[in-house]
């Protein structure tokens, strides 16, 4: 069944910096050529924007300059938490939820935990009707450590 995806990342910068890079410089690190609506059409997106406020829009600027809405900001707590409804390529009525929590680690560095949920409600209904699926998690964590802090 489609249980929530949880990814954990540890970074050598602090939570405030990680939050800032995530939300205000999204286009500098998002894989624009592969994880966008434009990529679904074999094109490269021009950018990804997260408007930095509750209710802000989350959208892609496509290869031809158009806007493709991905979702809406549901929580915006600088240095702490970002939550978004998530529906790239489809309409808001079918959105799932992405939440990113930023936490300073003791000493130095920060942990980022991303949870993508919302698929599981209907998938669990199907699984109950059908019987249990065998699911191997085999989760892959992006686990990088940078050099010394600046």
């Amino acid at each position: 069944m489609v249980e929530p995806v949880v990814k954990t990342l540890e970074l050598a910068c602090d939570a405030a910096h990680a939050f800032e890079v995530f939300t205000t410089r999204t286009a500098t690190w998002w894989p624009l050529d592969s994880h966008t609506v434009s990529a679904g059409a074999d094109k490269v997106a021009r950018g990804v924007t997260i408007e930095p406020r509750l209710g802000g829009a989350v959208y892609e600027t496509t290869h031809d300059g158009a806007r493709s809405d991905w979702g809406e900001v549901l929580a915006f707590e600088p240095g702490v938490r970002l939550a978004m409804s998530w529906h790239p390529g489809s309409d808001p009525g079918t959105a799932t939820r992405v939440e990113v929590v930023f936490t300073d680690l003791p000493g130095a560095g920060a942990r980022v935990v991303l949870t993508h949920s919302g698929w599981e409600v209907w998938a669990e209904q199907a699984a109950e009707l059908r019987g249990n699926y065998e699911v191997g998690w085999g989760a892959v964590f992006a686990d990088r450590y940078a050099g010394a802090c600046a």
């Binding site: 995806v5 970074l11 990680a18 790239p88 199907a126 990088r144 050099g147």
Partner: protein, 105 residues
Amino acid sequence: MTYQESLTALADPTRRAVFEALAAAPSPVGALAAGLPVSRPAVSQHLKVLSDAGLVEARAEGTRRIYAVRPAGLAELRAWLDGYWSDVLAGLAAEIEQGKEKRNG
């Protein structure tokens, strides 16, 4: 499974209803359409999207095609989502590492 296939397979509520109906029991297209407020061609189109995404499969039974949920499909979809977010966060980590090097260098 492509990016678009994965997302569009899950995005439509009617498509989900088709998937849930098949989860209850394998079914030919006509029986599915009879139980849903959508036309038979619409159900066929939804089945095509679900099939392309690996969520359902069809077998021949005489002259009919019987559709059923593909048990590995949801596991594969979840694995795809898992990899998707791994890739996205790897991009974030790389950007922050590069920022560190610029400040240190």
